[in-house]
C-alpha cells in the first residue's frame, strides 16, 4: 500500500514537473508558428541563432534585438517560467524592467500558458550563447522606459476585429485567429502605427509603410485591388509554405525569413486556418507605398 502511494506521488510529481517545464518538441512547432523568432538572430551579420544583436530600424530609432538563448549571464537562462510569461504577455522583464513594444508582447499576450511554457522549453533546449545585449539607439521620449506603463495602458490589450456572426463558431477560423493574432503576431508588422507607436486598430492588417527594418508590409486584408482580395485561400496557404506569390514572384525581406524559418514549417491545416481567418477580417482600401502614411478607408 505504501509502495503504491509512493509510486502515485512520484507519478503526480513527474507529471506536474513535466507541465511546469513544458514540451520542447511542441515548443519547436510554436517557435515556427511565431515566424522563427528571426528578429533575434543577426543573420546578415553572421550572428549566432537567437543571440540577438540584429538592428531593427524603426521611425523611432534603431532597436537591437536581445539575446534569448539560455545563457545565464547575457541571455534569459536565469528566467523562471513566471519571468518568461511576464515578459511575453506583459512586457515586463525580471526586476520590473519594462520592455519596449518593438518586442511584440501585445500579440504574444494572447498565447496560452501551456504554449508559452512549451516555447520556453524549446528556447532553453537551444545552445546557450554568451553575447551581451547592445544598447538601443532610440531618441527620447521613445528611448525612455519609465513612460512605458502609460503606453501599455493606452495600447493594451491588442484589439482585433470581431468575427462575422456566421464564422464565430468555425474552429478553423478560431485557430486561424490564434495563429494570426497571438503566435504569428502579424499585426505587429502589417498594421500601421500611430505617432506613439501604437497600432492603428481601424487599419487592422491594412499594411504599413514603416515596417521593421524600414520595410513595406503589404495590406493583407481581403480588399480586392489593394489587399489579398484577389487571392484564393490556396494562394495564401501556398505563399506561407513556399514563399511564392500567385504571380510566381517570391516574397522578400523579413517575410521571406519568417516563411523559411517559421510559417513554412506549419501543417497544411494551420496554414489553411490562417487563410480562413484572413478571409473574415474587414477589407480596407489602402495601397501601401512609401507615401501611404495615414491613408486608408474601410
Amino acid at each position: 500500500m505504501r509502495l503504491f502511494a509512493c509510486l502515485l506521488l512520484f507519478a503526480l510529481f513527474a507529471s506536474v514537473s513535466a507541465l511546469a517545464e513544458g514540451d520542447a518538441t511542441r515548443g519547436e512547432y510554436l517557435y515556427r508558428a511565431a515566424g522563427g523568432c528571426g528578429c533575434h538572430t543577426d543573420r546578415a551579420g553572421g550572428g549566432a541563432e537567437l543571440a540577438g544583436g540584429r538592428a531593427m530600424k524603426t521611425p523611432f530609432g534603431t532597436f537591437y534585438s536581445t539575446n534569448i538563448t539560455a545563457d545565464a549571464e547575457t541571455g534569459i537562462g536565469r528566467w523562471s517560467d513566471e519571468d518568461f510569461i511576464a515578459a511575453m504577455t506583459r512586457g515586463v522583464a525580471p526586476h520590473g524592467r519594462h520592455l519596449f513594444p518593438v518586442f511584440p508582447y501585445p500579440s504574444f499576450a494572447g498565447m496560452t500558458r501551456a504554449d508559452l511554457l512549451d516555447l520556453k522549453a524549446y528556447l532553453f533546449a537551444q545552445p546557450a550563447v554568451r553575447q551581451p545585449n547592445r544598447p538601443h539607439e532610440v531618441w527620447p521620449p521613445f528611448g525612455w522606459r519609465w513612460p512605458l506603463p502609460v503606453w501599455k495602458w493606452l495600447n493594451l490589450p491588442l484589439s482585433v476585429p470581431t468575427l462575422p456572426p456566421a464564422r464565430r463558431d468555425d474552429p478553423l477560423v478560431a485557430r486561424g485567429s490564434y495563429l494570426v493574432n497571438a503566435l504569428g503576431h502579424c499585426a505587429e508588422c502589417h498594421t500601421p502605427r500611430n505617432l506613439m507607436g501604437g497600432l492603428r486598430n481601424g487599419l487592422f492588417l491594412a499594411g504599413s509603410s514603416d515596417g521593421p527594418e524600414g520595410e513595406l508590409a503589404p495590406n493583407i486584408t481581403p480588399h480586392k485591388p489593394t489587399g489579398l482580395g484577389g487571392w484564393s485561400a490556396r494562394d495564401i496557404t501556398w505563399l506561407l509554405e513556399s514563399g511564392f506569390k500567385p504571380d510566381g514572384d517570391d516574397v522578400q525581406g523579413l517575410m521571406a525569413e519568417s516563411i523559411e524559418h517559421g510559417y513554412g514549417h506549419l501543417t497544411l491545416q494551420d496554414r489553411d486556418a490562417i487563410a480562413a481567418y484572413l478571409g473574415t477580417i474587414p477589407a480596407v482600401d489602402r495601397k501601401v507605398s512609401k507615401s501611404s502614411k495615414n491613408k486608408g478607408r474601410k
Binding site: 520595410e215 513595406l216 490556396r234 501556398w238 511564392f244 510566381g248 517570391d250 512609401k290
Partner: protein, 160 residues
C-alpha cells in the same frame, strides 16, 4: 565673320545636333536591354506560378512540372548574357552590385539553374512528396539572388 569661322560654326552645330539626337537613341537602346531582361525574369515567374497552381490545388499534372522547371533552368542560363550590359538606372530593379560583383551574380544564377534542374528531375520521378521541398529549394536560390541583386520593393521603380 570669315568663311573659315562660318564653316567651324556649321560643323560645331552639326556635331551638337548629332550628339543630341544620339542621346535618346542610346536611352532607347538601354530600355530595350532592360525590357528584354525583365521579360526573361518574368518568364521564370510565369513558370513558377504554373508550378504553384499545380501544387496548391494538387492538379493531376505533376509531370508538367518537369517542363516548367526545365524552362526555368534554361532561362537562368541566359541570365549572364541578359544582364551583361551594365544598366542600373531607369525603369529597372537591378542593383549596381550585379556588375560590381559579376562573378557572384553569375554563380547565384547558375545555382538557381541547378536547383531548377533538380526540381525537374524530382518531378520526373513522380514523387510528389519530394517536389514540395525541391520547389522550396529553388525558391531559396531565387531569394539568395534577389536579396543581393534586386532592389527591395521599398526602392522598386514600380513604387515610384
Amino acid at each position: 565673320m570669315n568663311a573659315a569661322t562660318r564653316m567651324f560654326m556649321v560643323l560645331s552645330l552639326a556635331t551638337l545636333f548629332t550628339l543630341a539626337a544620339g542621346i535618346p537613341l542610346y536611352a532607347q537602346n538601354d530600355q530595350a536591354f532592360i525590357t528584354y531582361r525583365q521579360k526573361v525574369m518574368s518568364s521564370n515567374g510565369d513558370n513558377m506560378a504554373a508550378i504553384g497552381e499545380i501544387m496548391k490545388s494538387s492538379l493531376p499534372m505533376g509531370k508538367n512540372i518537369v517542363t516548367h522547371a526545365a524552362n526555368i533552368e534554361q532561362t537562368m542560363l541566359l541570365a549572364a548574357s541578359a544582364f551583361e550590359k551594365n544598366i542600373s538606372a531607369g525603369a529597372t530593379d537591378s542593383k549596381p552590385e550585379i556588375w560590381a560583383d559579376w562573378k557572384k551574380f553569375v554563380s547565384l544564377a547558375e545555382a538557381a539553374a541547378d536547383k531548377a534542374s533538380t526540381l525537374s528531375k524530382v518531378a520526373m520521378s513522380g514523387d510528389m512528396a519530394a517536389v514540395g521541398p525541391a520547389v522550396k529549394a529553388l525558391g531559396g536560390a531565387c531569394g539568395d539572388c534577389h536579396k543581393e541583386f534586386r532592389k527591395p520593393k521599398e526602392e522598386s521603380y514600380k513604387n515610384k
